[in-house]
């Protein structure tokens, strides 16, 4: 039949059927709890802690092998110093002093960012102002402003707060306004459909809709602030009443007290970790992940 040489394959003819689905009761409950081991392995906190434990072990072994406490003290020595210094209150006081300044700067930065971005979404002038300011100041390292701050505000908390605000503000404002801009048009319209406008519209519609970006901004802002603060204290010494963690590092180095330097660094890392993986992580799981806006 086919003169063109194309071979037409025959379709296999099969009988039709129609049946009741097989009994699925043998699978047991369709929704079944996971075993404790599986749950443990799925737990991010557990996995992270395991890695931390491995790193601690490597540190200890390396320090023991090096056997030079002036260069690289062991983990146990460091922990001993840390416990001692926390016990007699020095480290705790330093931490408190650093965190106080940090929180002041952070809160002021967040508040300013909120005001600026609200203005930016409600008026075109506000938008232009914010974009320009962000473009100017975002690339400028916060620490570079400290000498100027010292001239303006003198040696003390106000200078640090000023620098922290600068470190926090632009990161948050940039992320928040880009978050606002990516809110779907339909969601905006359905918000305005209810007659919402101005600050109420920003707070009830735009802010939650842009929350993933806002949270990213808050996280970046936090990291900037923390780094800037420690660096500022380290470089410019005691700038608040009692001196913070950065100052403590400086002091310990002067005294060639390496274990103290390590203890302090460990404190800095631990606070950073705690905020990052406990505080922000909790906020994330309770908000954007629960809402399915981020995985």
């Amino acid at each position: 039949m086919s003169s063109s040489g194309i071979v037409k394959t025959q379709q296999v003819v099969r009988p039709e059927f129609d049946r009741i689905p097989v009994d699925a009761s043998s699978v047991g409950a369709v929704v079944r709890p996971l075993s404790p081991l599986q749950r443990l392995l799925d737990n991010v906190l557990f996995r992270r802690c395991a890695i931390l434990a491995a790193l601690a072990l490597i540190w200890q072994l390396y320090a023991l092998w090096l056997h030079n406490s002036l260069l690289f003290p062991t983990l146990t020595d460091t922990l001993k110093v840390m416990i001692h210094d926390f016990g007699d209150g020095t480290l705790l006081r330093r931490t408190k002093s650093s965190l106080e300044v940090l929180l002041m700067g952070y809160a002021a930065g967040v508040a300013l960012a909120a005001v600026l971005t609200t203005l930016a979404v409600s008026t075109r002038l506000g938008d232009d102002i914010l974009s320009t300011l962000t473009a100017i100041f975002n690339p400028l390292p916060a620490i570079a402003l400290l000498p100027l701050a010292l001239i303006w505000f003198g040696l003390g908390t106000p200078s640090l707060v000023f620098v922290l605000v600068h470190g926090v503000l632009w990161a948050i404002a940039l992320n928040t306004s880009s978050g606002f801009r990516s809110v779907p048009e339909t969601l905006r319209m359905s918000g305005r459909n209810y007659g919402l406008s101005g600050v109420r519209y920003v707070v009830t519609v735009l802010m939650p809709a842009a929350f993933p970006s806002i949270l990213t901004g808050l996280k970046i802002g936090w990291a900037f602030a923390w780094r800037t603060l420690i660096a500022a204290e380290l470089v410019f010494g005691v700038s608040s009443r009692s001196g913070g963690l950065g100052w403590y590092i400086f002091e310990a180095r002067e005294e060639l007290n390496t274990s103290s330097v390590f203890a302090d660094l460990l404190t800095v890392i631990m606070i950073g970790l705690l905020v990052e993986s406990v505080l922000f992580r909790t906020i994330e799981t309770r908000t954007v992940e629960k809402w399915g806006m981020q995985r």
């Binding site: 359905s190 459909n193 809709a209 629960k290």
Partner: protein, 266 residues
């Protein structure tokens, strides 16, 4: 369907334009339409003819270049909860609120209903669309059809003067779309709300509508207005349904036979 003959929406000679950086796009030109109480008024037209634009203007999101829009005699100047909109996109729901929270939000935001009353109304609305079991689910846990049901419940619970629906079922699969059309009609049978329904599907227009306004291709102008309530509840293969469908098909495609066909006309 103008039993009680009360005029709800009056669109008079409305021309709508978009200003883009390079062009002035006229989306609709001198549209007239009147929607009466309990109408299932359908706007039908090929994609890009300006249906969504017209609905946006009725919603108060866009001001006409020419002409006026009146809702129950009052001129439309800005968005308001007396015209609740249901969009095609699923993003219209607030992902940070549960189904119940989404339905409650406009009631509380407008202060129209409060406290226990609002909650009861919201629950009733969700039960009407068959979502009682999902009131505490977040939108990302719901299927497309269920999200659309939440959006419809949210709009209806506000008891607006008119419900504006912009291709609400276009993003759903064919089976779900059929179910949603039937359920919408069942709801209408119960509540007799006034609805303005936009679609590009002739079949959907006939199935859902009691009156169909046919728009010309871009820029959208009024081509015809037909009654379709006589095929209400008839099966698809019914002769009247087929005839009406053919008639509308001719209205939409006439003069287009040689020219390029509108892309999305089912």
């Amino acid at each position: 369907m103008t039993e009680d003959g009360s005029l709800v929406l009056d669109v008079r000679g409305v021309t709508l334009q978009y200003k883009t950086p390079r062009h002035l796009v006229t989306a609709t030109y001198r549209i007239n339409l009147e929607v009466y109480e309990s109408d299932r008024f359908v706007i039908l037209g090929p994609s890009g003819c300006g249906k969504s634009t017209l609905l946006k203007a009725i919603g108060g999101f866009m001001a006409p270049i020419e002409g006026d829009i009146f809702l129950r005699g009052r001129k439309v100047v800005k968005p308001g909860p007396d015209r609740m909109m249901v969009f095609q996109e699923f993003e219209q729901l607030m992902p940070w609120k549960t189904a119940l929270g989404n339905v409650l939000f406009p009631m509380k935001a407008t202060g129209r209903f409060r406290g226990k009353e609002a909650r009861e109304r919201a629950l009733a609305a969700l039960s009407k669309v068959g979502l009682t079991k999902f009131v505490d689910s977040y939108p990302h846990m719901l299927s497309g059809g269920m999200k659309m049901r939440v959006a419809i419940a949210r709009a209806m619970a506000m008891e607006p003067d008119i419900l504006l629906m912009d291709e609400p079922f276009a993003a759903l699969d064919a089976l779900t779309r059929r179910r949603m059309q039937e359920d919408l009609l069942a709801l209408w049978d119960q509540l007799r709300f006034t609805v303005l329904f936009v679609t590009h599907s002739i079949e959907e227009a006939i199935r859902v509508g009691s009156r169909i306004l046919v728009l010309s291709p871009h820029p959208g102008r009024v081509r015809a207005e037909l009654n379709s309530s006589y095929v209400y509840g008839q099966p698809l293969d019914d002769a009247a349904f087929g005839l009406l469908s053919k008639r509308i098909h001719n209205l939409v495609f006439e003069g287009e036979a040689e020219a390029k066909q509108p892309e999305a006309l089912v």
